[in-house]
C-alpha cells in the first residue's frame, strides 16, 4: 500500500550536463513513444537514482504497512476474518518482496535498502506512523488506505520503468481483493450493533486526516519536477489522486451512514471538484520526519526482526550449505 507524496531527491541544475546528449535524446524519445525502459537499457543517472528512491519507499511502505494490520491478525473475530486478514497482510509482504526485486534491477541490494530503512535514511508512507487501536481501525486501513493506494499505483503502473510497472500491475490486482475485503468488514461494522457502529465511526474520526495526508502535500505547496513527469517517473499529481479518491469513496462512506469528520467536505457541482478543509501539512512534515505517534515503534520492530534474523541470513551464506532449491 502506498500513496503519493513521494519524497524525491533534490536535483542539481547540473544533473543532466554530464550525460551523453545523443543517448539522452534517444532515451527521451523512447519514453515519448510509450516504450518501457528495461534494466539493461541506457538511462540517465538521475532517472536511476529517483526510481530507486521511489520504488524503495514503496517497498518499505509495504513491510511497515504490514505492522499496524498485522497486530490484528491474532485478534480477528471469527474464522472468515482471521483467514482473510492473514492472506491480506501476507500479500503486502509479498508486494515488498516484488518491489525490492524491482529496485534491485537498478543496482541497489535489498540488504542496503533495508539498512537505509532502519537507519532512517529512507522514508515510507506516512500513514503507517499512526496506531491501529481497534479492529475498526484495521478495517479502515484495509478498505480506504488500500483504495488510496490503488489510485496511486494504477497511475504509476503506466510509468516508464518496465520492472516497476509489471510489479504494480500484479500488486493492483491483489489490492483490489483487499479493497473488497475491507469494504465488507466496514459494511458489517457500520450496519451492525451500536458498539460496532460507534467503533467504526471513531476509526473514521481518527484516520481521516492521515488519509488526506496520504496523497502528499497539495500541488500548490509541493515541489514539482517537470522532468520526472516527462520521464514518466511521477505519473499524476497529489491533488489529482486525492480528488479521484474522494470522488470514488466519499459517496460510499456516506451511503453507510458514516460521517466524514470535515464540515467543509462537499463536491462543487460546477467545477466537479471536492472542497475540504486543508489538512495540517505541518503535522505531515513533522510525522514524516520522525516525530509521529508510531515512527519509533515501527522502526524498532523492523530493527529487532532484522537483528534476530541475522544468524539465519548468515547461515544461508555459509559455503557448506547445500541449496536444495533456488532461494529467490
Amino acid at each position: 500500500m502506498y500513496g503519493g507524496g513521494n519524497s524525491f531527491e533534490a536535483m542539481k541544475a547540473t544533473a543532466l550536463t554530464d550525460e551523453d546528449p545523443v543517448k539522452l535524446a534517444e532515451f527521451e524519445a523512447r519514453i515519448d513513444r510509450g516504450e518501457k525502459i528495461e534494466p539493461s537499457d541506457w538511462m540517465p543517472q538521475l532517472y536511476r537514482k529517483q526510481l530507486i528512491r521511489m520504488i524503495e519507499q514503496h517497498a518499505h511502505s509495504e513491510i511497515i504497512g504490514a505492522l499496524p494490520e498485522g497486530t490484528w491478525i491474532t485478534r480477528a473475530p471469527g474464522f472468515k476474518r482471521k483467514l482473510a486478514l492473514m492472506a491480506k497482510v501476507q500479500d503486502e509482504v509479498g508486494h515488498a518482496q516484488l518491489l525490492y526485486s524491482a529496485a534491485e534491477t537498478l543496482g541497489k541490494s535489498r540488504e542496503d535498502m533495508i539498512a537505509d530503512l532502519i537507519n532512517g535514511k529512507s522514508k515510507y508512507s506516512n500513514i503507517f506512523n499512526y496506531p491501529a487501536f481497534t479492529w475498526a481501525d484495521s478495517c479502515f486501513i484495509s478498505w480506504l488506505v488500500d483504495a488510496g493506494a490503488i489510485v496511486n499505483q494504477i497511475a504509476n503502473s503506466k510509468g516508464s520503468y518496465g520492472p516497476y510497472c509489471r510489479a504494480l500491475e500484479r500488486i493492483c490486482a491483489e489490492e483490489s481483493f483487499h479493497l473488497k475485503y475491507g469494504h465488507h468488514c466496514v459494511i458489517h461494522l457500520a450496519t451492525g450493533t451500536k458498539v460496532q457502529r460507534e467503533m467504526m465511526q471513531a476509526a473514521f474520526n481518527r484516520w481521516w486526516v492521515p488519509m488526506m495526508h496520504f496523497f502528499g502535500p497539495s500541488d500548490k505547496i509541493s515541489v514539482h519536477s517537470e522532468i520526472l513527469m516527462r520521464w514518466k517517473v511521477k505519473m499524476s499529481s497529489n491533488d489529482e489522486c486525492r480528488q479521484q479518491f474522494l470522488d470514488m469513496y466519499v459517496p460510499k462512506i456516506w451511503e453507510l451512514g458514516l460521517t466524514v469528520p470535515d464540515d467543509k467536505l462537499r463536491k462543487d457541482p460546477e467545477t466537479g471538484q471536492w472542497e475540504f478543509t486543508e489538512p495540517d501539512w505541518e503535522e505531515f512534515k513533522r510525522v514524516i520526519n520522525g516525530d509521529g505517534p508510531c515512527n519509533k515503534e515501527r522502526l524498532a520492530v523492523r530493527r529487532v526482526a532484522e537483528e534476530r534474523g541475522a544468524w539465519v541470513r548468515q547461515a544461508l551464506l555459509a559455503p557448506k550449505t547445500k541449496y536444495v532449491a533456488p532461494l529467490a
Binding site: 491474532t74 458498539v195 520492530v301 534476530r308
Partner: protein
C-alpha cells in the same frame, strides 16, 4: 460407531491445527527474511483453514458451530498438545517445532485418508496434499541450517532438545485408542510415533544435528485432556478479544 471416541479424535486434531496456525501467523512482519514471513503465513492459513473444516465435522456430530467452538472455549477445554501452544521463540525454535510437528502431521493424515469414517477420510486426503508442502519447507530449512554455521547448528540442536519432550506429547494416547483402532477410524498414536521416529532420524542424519536419546526423555502429556502451559490462555484471550465483545454480532 463410537461418536464420543470420534469427537475426541477430531477435537485434538482441530485444536492442534488452530493453535499452531495462530502461532505461525505471529511471524507475519517479523521473519528473518521476507520469504519466511510469507511461508509461515501460508502454513498458518492452511492450518487455521484445516481446523475450521474439522470443527465443521464436529458440528455435524452435534457440537456448536466452529466460531463458537474456536473463540469461546477456555484453555482447559482445549485438546491440543502443549508443543503447539509454546511461544514462537526465536526462528530456530519455530523451525524445529514446525519440523517435528508437521512430520507427524503428514503421517497422521496419510493414515486418516483411509479412515472408515468417510467425512474424515475425504478431508484427510485434501489436507495431506497441503501438509506435503509444509514438510518440504521444513526439510529444506533443516538441511540448510542444520549443517551451515556453528551458530545455526548449535541453535537448532538446543531447540531440538528443548522441543523433544513436548513433541513426544503429540502422541499422548487417547482414552479411546482401542475403540478407534478397532473401528478402523484411526491407526493409533503408537503407529504414527514409530514411523515419525524413523523419518525424523533419517533427516537429522543428513545434517550435523544429533537425534536426542528418546529413552531418557519423559514425554509431556496432559494437553489432550485440558492440561496446558501458562501460554495457552493468553493466546486464547488475544484471539477472542474482538469476538467476545459481542459473540452474537455479525463481524
Amino acid at each position: 460407531m463410537n461418536t464420543e471416541a470420534l469427537k475426541d479424535l477430531l477435537y485434538k486434531i482441530a485444536d492442534d491445527q488452530l493453535i499452531l496456525g495462530h502461532r505461525n501467523s505471529e511471524w507475519t512482519g517479523f521473519g528473518p527474511l521476507l520469504e519466511e514471513d510469507i511461508a509461515f503465513s501460508s502454513m498458518a492459513q492452511d492450518k487455521v483453514g484445516q481446523s475450521w473444516q474439522i470443527y465443521k465435522l464436529l458440528e455435524e456430530l452435534g457440537e456448536s458451530e466452529p466460531d463458537m467452538v474456536a473463540f469461546m472455549r477456555n484453555a482447559d477445554q482445549f485438546h491440543n498438545c502443549q508443543l503447539v501452544e509454546l511461544p514462537n521463540g526465536e526462528y530456530d525454535f519455530s523451525l524445529i517445532r514446525h519440523f517435528l510437528f508437521d512430520m507427524a502431521e503428514q503421517i497422521r493424515f496419510t493414515h486418516l485418508a483411509s479412515s472408515s469414517y468417510e467425512p474424515l477420510s475425504l478431508l484427510a486426503k485434501k489436507i495431506k496434499g497441503e501438509i506435503k508442502y509444509h514438510t518440504m519447507h521444513a526439510k529444506i530449512w533443516m538441511k540448510q541450517l542444520g549443517s551451515a554455521t556453528e551458530e545455526s547448528v548449535s541453535r537448532l540442536q538446543n531447540s531440538l532438545e528443548e522441543a523433544m519432550p513436548y513433541a513426544l506429547g503429540i502422541f499422548e494416547p487417547s482414552k479411546f485408542e482401542a475403540e478407534l483402532i478397532k473401528e478402523d477410524i484411526f491407526r493409533g498414536e503408537e503407529v504414527i510415533k514409530e514411523e515419525w521416529i524413523e523419518q525424523i532420524s533419517a533427516i537429522l542424519k543428513e545434517t550435523s544435528l544429533k537425534m536426542p536419546d528418546l529413552n531418557s526423555i519423559t514425554p509431556v502429556y496432559g494437553g489432550r485432556y485440558g492440561k496446558h502451559t501458562e501460554h495457552l490462555q493468553p493466546l486464547l484471550d488475544e484471539m477472542s478479544e474482538v469476538f467476545k465483545m459481542d459473540p452474537t454480532a455479525d463481524w
